[in-house]
């Protein structure tokens, strides 16, 4: 870490986490997160208005906490970065407005960045500069995409989508199956935990969009809605027959089906593009089976796998700061002060211009 690397504060409020991160170059100095997840748990999903209210209350205290942790004063910050999409419109707006107030009062540039690209950029904080090109598999409650990354700042088509889910996001499937099995929200960590006690080949759940005909049209796309229905039917049949539901086996077999498809398609995409580095990010990247399976299969193909530690995979401000720092380091032009929050921002638009 040198003094001439940019000191960047990043704000993330696209869903239910109020995140404020501070980085210098690719060095993480602070990653403060306040979550409203417990307020959403009883609804079985994120309630936008509840999330937005929580962001407003958490915003300034989280900025303060990040500065305290990093041991920096706001006046020392070189630039502000903020997620301006995609995400929940009302939630994004709180972060964007706060970021503008910071930029305005500090007299520093603001970079409105894409949430998905930030999930990729965060890996630099753990494993150093991102290999470009790399293939990114982003999986969370809100997204499931395969991206070809040749320039993480998005310059000249630097972030190109190769595939995405055609229905549910992978994390959504985890939430729904967890609910079915009587496990708490959010489902990912609970399924991961319960699955360790189960048999992953006990039940042969369907692998969406892997049939020959599907592969013609959707080679790199995902579908998890059929899998979710198959799990529901299987559990109902058991219950109707008056037999106990083997929760651990269902969890393990379901998780295996999801991870199998994700890894298979990601490696297929990397091989097709001749890319030797696979980066996995997003909340589902914290899943232990996904990491293990990716490493096992990629090794055989000579593909390197980079997965940030679980705390950096879920939504946080450090990932936004990391992408902002890359923007500064590569001399990208800052965003205008009237930059909008864009709930359906395409992944190709990495920096608000």
């Amino acid at each position: 870490m040198t003094r001439d690397e940019p000191l960047v504060l990043g704000i993330e409020t696209s869903c239910d986490e109020t995140g404020v991160g501070i980085v210098r170059g690719t060095t993480l100095l602070a990653d403060a997160v306040a979550s409203s997840v417990e307020e959403h748990a009883r609804f079985g999903g994120v309630v936008p208005e509840v999330a937005s209210r929580a962001h407003l209350e958490a915003m300034v205290p989280t900025i303060q906490r990040a500065c305290d942790t990093a041991g920096v004063a706001l006046a020392d910050v070189d630039a502000i970065a903020v997620t301006h999409g995609p995400g929940l419109a009302g939630a994004l707006l709180v972060g964007v407005a706060s970021a503008k107030a910071l930029a305005l009062s500090l007299g520093k540039p603001i970079y409105g960045v894409n949430h998905l690209a930030a999930h990729v950029a965060v890996d630099q904080l753990e494993h150093g500069p991102l290999p470009e090109p790399c293939l990114a598999l982003l999986v969370s409650g809100g997204h499931s995409s395969l991206l070809r990354v040749t320039d993480i700042t998005g310059h000249a088509g630097g972030v190109a989508p190769m595939g995405a889910t055609i229905d549910d996001a992978a994390g959504e499937a985890f939430d729904k199956v967890a609910r079915l099995l009587g496990l708490p929200f959010p489902g990912g960590p609970h399924i991961d935990r319960v699955a360790r006690e189960g048999d992953k080949i006990a039940i042969d759940f369907p692998r969406g969009l892997t049939g020959r005909r599907d592969l013609e049209r959707h080679r790199f796309d995902f579908s998890f809605s059929g899998l979710k229905t198959a799990v529901a039917r299987w559990v109902e049949a058991r219950e109707r027959a008056g037999e106990p539901v083997p929760v651990a086996d269902v969890a393990a077999s379901f998780q295996e089906a999801v991870c199998d498809v994700l890894v298979r398609k990601a490696l297929d995409a990397a091989s097709a593009e001749g890319i030797e580095d696979l980066m996995i990010g997003g909340g589902v990247a914290a899943n232990s089976r996904l990491r293990a399976l990716a490493e096992e299969r990629a090794g055989k193909l000579g593909i390197r796998v980079r997965v940030p530690r679980p705390g950096l995979c879920t939504d946080n401000g450090a990932m936004v700061a990391a992408l902002g720092a890359t923007m500064v380091a590569r001399g990208r032009a800052p965003s205008p002060l009237d930059l909008p929050a864009d709930s359906s921002l395409p992944v190709t638009e990495v920096l608000a211009g």
């Binding site: 309630v47 209210r53 303060q64 707006l93 407005a97 107030a101 009062s105 009237d338």
Partner: protein, 207 residues
């Protein structure tokens, strides 16, 4: 040097008060898009008056009631600015700013109410005495439930003339009056907390 703004109506309004009077003010030309318009308007007002952010000594913000999304843009902006600049942030009921202006303009002379658009075919409403002092907490309800033949300030009267036939004065809050209210001690100062008056739908359903 007080910076004041309000985002509790479709209009974004910003003003700067130097302790003697309003020295610069700006109002958005198009409705909504608070998140896009507020910061550039603040920047413009500061530039017009030749004031640097560091010169500000306080921030005042309309705390509603008003549509939630816009309201939060104003509140988080005010709280963040105040945090960075280490100055106090004062909340003002947005209806009070309308009341103050109506009294100052002579649009009302006796008791009156202020009614603004709460969407969903409802209005936000509060009652005031002849001096513009609020007599009760603001409420949200259907115009028919809150109907009055007395003088009504605010957009609610134009939107629901059958419930509020005697429309008077300004329709939407103006930050210049918010600034005067705070700088000259003519409105009650509140903590910078949003006056939502409604619970989130999902929470309301749960009860």
């Amino acid at each position: 040097m007080l910076l004041a703004f309000d985002t509790a109506s479709p209009t974004v309004t910003v003003a700067l008060h130097d302790g003697t009077g309003v020295v610069a003010a700006a109002t958005s030309e198009e409705g909504m898009r608070h998140g896009e318009q507020l910061a550039p308007l603040i920047e413009r007002v500061l530039a017009e008056a030749g004031v640097r952010p560091a010169d500000l000594t306080a921030v005042a913000v309309g705390v509603g009631p008003g549509p939630f999304t816009g309201l939060r843009v104003g509140l988080v902006t005010a709280r963040t600015l105040a945090h960075v600049l280490e100055v106090p942030v004062h909340g003002v009921c947005s209806l009070d700013a309308l009341a103050l202006q109506a009294v100052a303009d002579g649009a009302v002379t006796g008791d009156f109410v202020v009614a603004t658009d709460a969407r969903r075919k409802e209005v936000y409403l509060a009652s005031y005495d002849a001096g513009g002092t609020r007599l009760d907490e603001p409420v949200v309800d259907k115009p028919a439930v809150l109907a009055t033949s007395g003088p009504v300030v605010g957009e609610g009267a134009r939107l629901y003339p059958e419930a509020f036939p005697d429309a008077r004065g300004p329709e939407r809050p103006d930050a210049a009056w918010l600034a005067r209210g705070v700088a000259e001690g003519r409105v009650a100062v509140l903590p910078p907390e949003p006056l939502y008056l409604r619970r989130p739908d999902a929470v309301a359903r749960l009860r």
